[in-house]
Symmetry: C2
């Protein structure tokens, strides 16, 4: 019986645990789910005979190390900043480790020790990062194997609401951590490369520099730039590429409307507002508008954002009930971002029957035998329900599949890794297909970075 | 013979040193000017028999303490962050200290020790902070002495080019540290109070939320908000005031044009641009615009900033030669702000015959005997030449006057202070008048905070 220790469980653990439970008999697996809340861990047991839930405080070193020693492999689903102590213990006790988080500098620094101990620390193997890495590298490696040279790589991922549950003017609901959505794009300019030129977008312009993309059967989406595109030169070996751009997908029109909040200053998370607890939604809006002895908050908002009388943008604000005089923010010393999150959660929280959706869109431009070509690759996965969401499946399944393959010595390369090697991504992507994670490729006319499709 | 040690000298030291030299005979003064560059210190000697220049490295503790022990009072004109070691030594060796800088937390923390030693550490006694404190407190104390209650305080200061030297479309030249101008307003939202409501302006809107003001004989100016208005509640005892707003003055139209740089992201000082050394001015502009296979940097700029064909804003950009293909930024790893500063310095550096100008504008709203009233108080000082600039005079003269008064025991209150007590500001303001620093007061109709002067 092989013991898999899963540390920390949240929304994304459902599909991960279900997968391993389904394999427990054939693969001879025992699961230990450790969480700071025993009650929370117990939710994931599902009456499965080989699964035990335990209370596990990762800051209790003795307990942590005891549990770790009993494991044959460790999956950490903790928030990214908490992985490092677990990772260090994994070196001490010679355990392999799987996480869905970006490799931090501290994690990266363990690489030599991990290699010296012949261990596998597989990270960035959720959806984004994770499935994006694997599906992109599969196409890139294939182009290179044919002798092609990469010219352009653009990649977008979005966690959205499924079409059947898409019933507000924003075409958006929170399917993941709302806070990350509210502060998305902050902390510095977005940097990327377009046709060999380095380009920079400041935060306050980010949501007005989108691209549109069409996904067959799902219509149009738009993408705004992520901050970190340049890092992918190194990771994917795209050092001389002409265009490199990573972004986040939303339904068309979301970004332009979101920009209203950015422009007013409502997404700022760096200071606390006075009297935020007693502040009404209307007061919150008014705090970003000049005082006037005569004019309404509504007209000041329209004027400040140049919203015409017949502009749908206005209806999007009204739908949020953001001018309400009675609803209170109710949070002490709230930052604007926290106050805005409160207002949005009233309207953008999934209803019990709502389903979510993950959409991924890659563009690969390349030159092969003197000819310039482009492949667009898309993936859409809808959630089953509020437990087995598209997010939980796309984050949890690759983690679970990788963990089992490492346990079975099918993945053996040692080090602090991400899933960018063919030996890793090929079998995982293949298995993911049986769970509905299917990429569709389409040949496109290569026009380079060319937002208006102008034929020079 | 009393020895005044002046540590650190720059542009602002000329008027300060001249004042003390002129008083040296009558007041029995000896001046020691210490600077990291002996050559620089020597420039300020002016063949004056009682002035010596020395090389002084404030990080050389032995030398610093030696020189300090010989002094009867110390004036530190060092950059604000370097005062603290000097201040600590002043406590050890029982010396009074004068600086023109904002009181830092470290300086504030010395208050008890300074009081225990019965010393005077007078800070914030330049122009802004300095003359603004003194001239505002004089009016505020006067209103209170009559039994009035403060309702509104707005205060604006600007370092500008004098009308006779004002010959570019921006009506602006650098009369002080250009870097401070380029990054002005960054680091967080501006916070202030309008009619009892806390208001917040994010950086990217700061230069579009200006107020206009008229100064008799000088025409219109505009003010944009400083970040720190709320701190003045405490400092000036304005805790229950309805409107509190501090800002920076520019000529009308400057802020709207400056906003073009803010919108493009050119004032960002948080990251380094790729290839900045070899980048042309045109490349710099293009880095903030999307790639296009067909369109010019000019049209992309107009489109991105929505500049109509006949808008003077465009001429302001062209005047800066910002689309030049041949001029290079020439700075390694420049931030956008550093690159922009380079471009602006080509055009906004004062010519040898140019004169500068300091403008200050205060508004005081108050209630007296049931009646609401307003006094506007303005001060304009033009520079004499490039040595005795308005900036050097308004920064240096209050420092020099205060230092002499402390030396003569005319100012004796001990502690880490700013010039907000009548006993301090009254005689200094009086003496400043003889140097042309004259405030003109005017009674105005009180309309509260009311940017469009709407009569309710």
């Amino acid at each position: 019986m092989r013991n898999i220790l899963i540390i920390g469980c949240g929304k994304s653990s459902s599909a991960l645990i279900k997968y391993l439970q389904e394999k427990s008999e054939s693969e001879n697996l025992k699961l230990t789910i450790g969480d700071i809340s025993l009650e929370n861990a117990q939710k994931f047991v599902n009456n499965h005979p080989k699964t035990q839930a335990i209370k596990l405080d990762i800051f209790d070193k003795t307990q942590r190390q005891e549990r770790l020693q009993e494991a044959d492999i460790v999956i950490s689903m903790l928030p990214a900043r908490f992985h490092i102590e677990v990772a260090k213990d994994c070196i001490v006790f010679n355990k392999n480790l799987v996480t869905a988080s970006y490799i931090s500098k501290e994690m990266e620094a363990l690489d030599e020790q991990v290699k010296a101990n012949n261990l596998v620390f597989m990270n960035e193997i959720g959806v984004d990062p994770g499935i994006d890495h694997m599906s992109a590298m599969q196409v890139i490696d294939n182009i290179r194997a044919q002798g092609g040279k990469m010219l352009l790589f653009e990649s977008f991922t979005g966690g959205l609401v499924a079409p059947e549950s898409d019933n507000n003017l924003w075409n958006y609901k929170f399917t993941w951590n709302p806070r990350n959505v509210v502060v998305a794009g902050q902390g510095g300019a977005a940097e990327f490369i377009q046709e060999g030129q380095f380009k920079y977008i400041p935060y306050h312009r980010l949501f007005r520099r989108t691209e549109f993309m069409e996904v067959e059967g799902y219509g149009k989406f738009e993408g705004y730039a992520n901050r970190n595109s340049l890092a992918y030169q190194e990771v994917y070996g795209l050092q001389n590429i002409k265009t490199l751009y990573r972004g986040t997908l939303r339904r068309v029109g979301f970004s332009k409307a979101w920009n209203m909040f950015v422009q007013l200053g409502m997404t700022d998370d760096t200071y606390n507002m006075e009297n935020s607890e007693e502040m009404s939604y209307r007061d919150f809006v008014n705090a970003f508008l000049p005082y006037s002895p005569t004019d309404s908050v509504e007209l000041k908002t329209r004027y400040s954002l140049k919203i015409d009388q017949d502009d749908l943008m206005w209806e999007k604000l009204v739908e949020l009930d953001i001018f309400n005089r009675n609803k209170k923010i109710g949070i002490k010393n709230a930052t604007p971002a926290q106050a805005l999150q409160k207002i949005l959660e009233d309207k953008w929280t999934l209803s019990p029957d709502d389903k979510d959706m993950i959409v991924m869109y890659h563009k690969f431009g390349y030159e092969l035998n003197g000819e310039k070509k482009q492949i667009d690759s898309t993936m859409v996965l809808e959630g089953e329900n509020q437990t087995y969401t598209a997010m939980a499946k796309t984050v949890g399944l690759p983690v679970a599949i990788a963990a089992l393959k490492i346990l079975n010595r099918e993945i053996t390369t040692s080090g602090v890794l991400r899933p960018i090697d063919q030996a890793v991504y090929e079998p995982i992507l293949k298995e993911l297909e049986t769970y509905g994670v299917i990429f569709k490729e389409k040949e496109m006319k290569y026009l380079g970075y060319n937002i208006d499709n102008v034929v020079g």
